[in-house]
Amino acid sequence: MKIVVCVKAVPGYVIEPRVSETGDRVNYKAGSIIMNESDEYALEEALALKKEFGGEVTVITAGSLSSQKALHVGLAKDADKAVRINTDFIDCGSLAKVLAETIKHLGYDLILTGVESSDNMAAQTGILIAERLGLPFAYAVTEVKRGGSPGTLTVTKELGGGVKQVLEITLPTLLCIQTGTTLLSYAPFRKVLQAQAKPVQSIAINELGINDELKKSPPFRIVDIFPPQRVSNAEIIDGNPSEVASVLIQKVREGV
């Protein structure tokens, strides 16, 4: 099975974010660069499926050179190939277009993504890729198994409120993998170092032949960025732990 996993390198935390002059992006200092959390689970799922079905796993990202860090993690965890599309797009629509085109060229049976990136928090890119490629998809997937009939997978996904749906879905398909589906493995430092020496295929946007479709500016203008205004209505209880405990337990007794 040919599995492609879309991963994103995201800042662990950001310092001094500022809106660019044209309002098309936010510039910031990144505290660290990590692989987006749900993408880690997507990668883990891909490697597990490779063990069961055989085949190969390709990790792919769209971003600047620093985003290769996420690909190196993928290679260190035994992904077979790594591909980076060199771009500084930040809007989901453009990212999905370049990812979908690249994946089409690579070939695939199954595409895995995470559910939401921690930086943009939009939860769009996976499904936008599926739609562009005309694939059936499932979001917030917690389990992937061999399907009841050939060429299918049995997929469990969350519907919210503690309810899950089990689907039989025809390959090729795209699945957005939820966090917590499995325990994450850790790549030993030695393997991470080795991975950094492995080749990453770099693709320029104009190689994809979709320049006409890519917008020069995103479909939005960022006006401002600020820490969320939190109106705390909470009555703050001060004091040492036993003083605090005495007040709180009284509140509990009153409230029951």
């Binding site: 809007d91 629509g93 928090m121 739609e131 939005f220 337990i249």
Partner: protein, 326 residues
Amino acid sequence: MKGNILVLSEQKEGELDNITYELLTKGRETADQWGTKLAVLVLGDNLDSLTKVLVSSGVDIVLVADHSILANYNTEVYCAVISEAVRDFKPSLFLLGYTYLGMEVGPAVATRLGVDITSNCVDLALSNGKVTVTRPMYSGTFHTKVEVEGGLPYIISFQKGALPRQVSSTKSASVVSVPVGIAESTIRSKVIDLLQVASGEIDLTKAEIIVAVGRGIGDRANIQMLKDLAGALGGTIACSRPVADMGWLPIEYQVGISGQTVAPKIYIACGISGASQHIAGMRDSSTIIAINKDPNAAIFSTAHYGVVGDLFEIVPALTEEARKSA
């Protein structure tokens, strides 16, 4: 661009979900400012009673897609029907929830209409002829104000619980039937089962006192400390998503959009930062107590009582006090 506004309704077991009322409130306000019409789209099977509720929910038009094929949610079918309904109605604004349904359907409908979607918003305002939304970035540590641009309709999804809910029931809407035409042979994903997370020994929704634990607990071994407090109070333990993800508590203990929605008399949040997904599952608790070492934690916006401090000091003191006064 001041055209009609369409809201996607969500329901569960025949009752409208709160997100529907929240979207209708914002939709009504915006339609009144523009002097345009507000419509709501509802999908399902045997929708007579839901339609009746929607007709008097302050909207002008109720679009009803009533068909047996829509009885159970199938993403492919819902995406197809919703896309067609939006295409036919031609709204300027299409509002939906940043919910499981909206996260699946939103980007797909946008693609099919050849437009973009602005997702995960917490507010919408009109200024200088622009639609401006507020949405989180960077794990919610920042909010951005964003002017929506691009083609119509603007498709915008909102977090559950973010918008105020205040629906007038004075209007009487017209009802329009939406065609449901999809060939079953084209459907590539078949729903074979629905699983309710086993509540087993616990039913969080019936608990009067809940002691909830979040990422701040640091390690699985520390869960016992919270179990002790729950025990001393005669309550039950619960958790936020990261704790269940790490396998420290089974998923049936998880409170939030993906887990249980609870409204106990007492909810004690320990080491829970207060991500919107968690808040949506516990905001209706009668008394909310939050213990967190970060004074800026979002949980303090929802809590009635707050303690800024180390839960490893506070929780044992609480347990001792609870045992003393039991």
